[in-house]
Symmetry: C2
Subunit: 202 residues, 2 copies
DNA sequence: GGTTTTACCCTAGCGGCATTAGGAAGCTGA
DNA sequence: TCAGCTTCCTAATGCCGCTAGGGTAAAACC
């Protein structure tokens, strides 16, 4: 009897690939075991349960995504940085829809508490926004709106909300133009006298 | 033997309620049958399968949502309309997360082809944007960005992306300020000489 | 090199879910 | 009243997540 030679890492990588190919919700323990030519129960030596498997996919995907964004943004500022960030974000999501979907799960705080990628991605966003001259609390507000716009756009695109036409590219890049204008004209707000605003999550 | 007196409409309404309470993915045929005190198989007299049930929830939720938005936007224009639209959108999504989630499914084109609500919601958006002086192709681009921003924001909020603090309200209303500024300063584009742009979906 | 220990993978089995087939009992209209 | 339709049932299939417990390959130790 030859062993399959699995490991948590291999299982996660295969699961991520499978998620990109057939959708995150099609990634089941059974299907994954089938892909490895192994019985379902065998996978439980490497992964606690289905939820943990998905969290692993998310952490893997999140790390990869942040890495790619960081590489593209490096050395840029202002609109250059914004466009590089946004395009890297979108390209990753379109090329790896399963991994991307996984990053959108609801996590228990401690599941992602020690995620370097998460902290890094917040830093990247804030660095970009500071180049636009923003500071708290606008930093937080603008960051949220940017994340929302990016995610919302990709979500609509992935779910077929608009046709998969060449036009989406134009629309996307014009939205980036618009967001650039938005950040340059951000309606600033003074932080309130008393503290409390500082504790906001990004 | 007393009959339960079910109907497609009653089943859908109960399913929508259940989705709001426990999450769309917890709405199963079994759970719903249990709620009615009926066997699983009985529901198949009223609903073709699980997918159709979810589509029904989506259509119901979409209609309700559009209705509420339309009521709020009626008689307003400019920033008033934008804020009314956005707040009605967000409030519905937060009060009815299950129905809202259902509206985000991927549909076959003919499943929603005859949805009045969908057409109406597009009209509402476009009317709002025309009041900002936009015309095609900016109408389409701005509409997409708005939908993306709204959906993205609510999605982040619902999935706990940021803390459930009072601050989210501030952040949201400042994002609306920013979007208003954006629409007033939208970087316009000329339509290309030859046709083709007109066929874009919203 | 032989032995012990570990860790991997298996068989077996539980309960939950979606779905279908076919039958019985209520309701409706002639 | 009785035929016919609808609603609900029982029964069964197959897929899935997950657990318990056992055997063996591979690694660790002497």
């Amino acid at each position: 009897m030859v062993r399959a030679g699995l490991s948590a890492a291999k299982v996660t990588e295969a699961a991520a690939e499978m998620a990109d190919e057939v959708g995150l919700d099609q990634v089941t323990i059974s299907a994954l075991a089938r892909r490895f030519g192994v019985k379902d129960a065998s996978l439980y030596s490497h992964v606690k349960n289905l939820r943990e498997l998905r969290v692993r996919i998310a952490l893997l995907g999140g790390a990869e995504m942040t890495e790619r964004i960081a590489a593209e943004v490096a050395g840029r500022a202002g609109k250059d940085a914004l466009v590089a960030f946004a395009n890297a974000y979108r390209r990753f999501a379109l090329e790896h829809p399963g991994r991307y979907a996984a990053t959108q799960m609801q996590f228990d705080p401690e599941e992602v508490a020690d995620s370097v990628a998460l902290r890094r991605s917040v830093e990247l966003t804030y660095g970009m926004l500071r180049a636009y001259g923003l500071s708290e609390p606008d930093l937080t507000d603008a960051g949220r709106l940017l994340r929302a716009a990016f995610h919302g756009y990709i979500h609509l695109e992935l779910s077929g909300g608009f046709a998969h036409s060449r036009q989406v590219e134009d629309s996307w890049s014009r939205s980036l133009d618009a967001l650039h204008v938005l950040l340059e004209n951000w309606p600033s707000h003074q932080p309130p006298e008393a503290g409390g605003r500082d504790e906001r999550m990004p």
